[in-house]
Symmetry: C2
Subunit: 299 residues, 2 copies
């Protein structure tokens, strides 16, 4: 490629810059970034990019445009780039929910132009270009959305692009995507935020200093609950219907657990705990986590 | 000390053996272990202990007895050691819930003999003596229970003992203990088991293979949900009343979150997410977790 344009250069955007540079996937990388602080950071990091002040300068003649902003910014950005893109421009994003983005794209992207959605399953609780790294996507899944309107040529290009940055790719439609990630990612984040909030509420209620005893479990949840609030608000709002459904399943199961505990139903609870334990082995076998006790953090 | 007797030599028991040996805290260590597999492992590990087949041989003339079994075994073990202990014997345990154990001790331990409860906030999702390590308790809290009946001399001895194995100690009564850990440890484990169960239920319902996309959040929970089921059943049953209360707070908050998401209440949700995020900084400041993105696992 001659020209890549990355809109939003935080954790994921800057990771893309690093790996594109490392693998020499493009001759030139252009960056558009709203945050002045991030721009200072990008300059300090000496990332070999051209920082543009207008979307026009970035989008014109780009081979590939990657949206790495919170999803709530897509609409505004689309309206601004519409004049500078052509059917040849490959456009993608890294957003974590897809049905709502599909609607925005359909409603606001210039007719005859294509946006092919990506979702690399990568990230962490920290934000900002200083935390980006060139192995961010290595061996991670990247979901490519294939719907009726998908431009197959662009899809093939992106499939190859994500493989070059180190990901394993998989194709599915946006409905399937949003269902799967409502339970494997969105609900876990919501639960983590909710548990931390509940701990603070309880701390106030019983007037006991308890956060300092977080090492027995709470700390794991607090990591996830430290994730970027704008990004997660957007995800929760965008995938609200699927999330509402899995919240209901979760609450129903939690009430069953409560009953088991109250009535000391031994067989029922042991069966639940053993079944949950098996999933951990499955996750490790599927290489979705490292096989070291305590994530290896205490060694 | 001349003689320490450890009942139950799994993850924590064998970690105690290792650190007691390393720090030369006792001349002799005796072990009682019910599991034949664990005995084979202990022998293979060449831990310098005397494995006894009867509790009598272990308990007689011990300076310190430490219960490292699941809490549901306390009663049966107490009835068996009652004849071999004296008011001088210092007895403790490492159990994670305290009110119920206090009752068992009060009801079944020989009169005039003392049991001073400990709870080191240490452990991991793996079980068995092969995972023990001498730094298991290093810089971790160890809660010592101080109730009306507590023998102050024994409490002082144990305070010094846990400090020697590397822990920071804190004293509180069993009611306060069980309240604090219901939210910082017991509910997080229950939630983790429940989330993994809900993911499996949802997988079945929507007939989509989803565990392989666990890297976006679910995998963190699955680690905790891989913890020993007997130990956790005992904790859930023993601390059921406090756990029931925090489940209620959690479910109420989750319903509020669901409402925010459904009605797209921007201010309300952003405020919740930011507040939860702050707790992570607090936890790291309190040295309850490491300050590396993603627990440092992906580097």
């Amino acid at each position: 490629m001659k020209k890549v344009f990355i809109i939003g250069c935080g954790l994921l955007g800057s990771s893309l810059v690093r790996i594109i540079v490392k693998k020499k996937l493009a001759e030139k990388i252009f960056i558009y970034e709203k945050s002045k602080l991030n721009i200072i950071k990008i300059k300090r990091l000496k990332l070999p990019v051209t920082i543009v002040k207008s979307l026009r300068d970035g989008a014109l003649n780009s081979d590939l445009i990657i949206f790495c902003t919170p999803m709530s910014q897509y609409k505004g950005l689309i309206l601004k780039i519409n004049n500078f893109i052509s059917p040849k421009t490959i456009i993608t994003d890294v957003g974590s929910a897809k049905i709502n983005s599909s609607k925005i794209i359909k409603n606001f992207l210039k007719k005859g132009v294509y946006w092919t959605q990506s979702h690399p399953i990568a990230g962490s609780e920290v934000s900002g270009p200083e935390y980006g790294k060139d192995n961010m996507f290595k061996n991670k899944w990247c979901v490519l959305i294939k719907d009726k309107e998908t431009n197959i040529k662009h899809l093939r290009f992106l499939d190859s692009f994500w493989k070059k940055v180190g990901s394993k790719t998989v194709k599915m439609n946006s409905e399937k995507h949003d269902k799967i990630f409502s339970i494997t990612s969105h609900l876990p984040h919501l639960i983590a935020y909710n548990l931390v909030k509940s701990a603070k509420d309880y701390e106030k209620k019983i007037k006991l200093d308890l956060i300092k005893y977080s090492a027995g479990g709470l700390r794991d949840f607090s990591r996830i609950a430290a994730s970027n609030e704008i990004m997660w608000r957007d995800i929760f709002f965008d995938n609200s219907q699927n999330i509402a459904k899995v919240i209901d399943i979760f609450v129903k199961n939690l009430k069953d657990f409560k009953k088991d505990i109250k009535l000391k139903k031994n067989k029922s609870i042991i069966s639940k705990l053993i079944k949950a334990k098996r999933v951990r082995s499955q996750i490790i076998k599927l290489k979705q986590d490292i096989n070291r006790p305590d994530f290896g953090r205490s060694n």
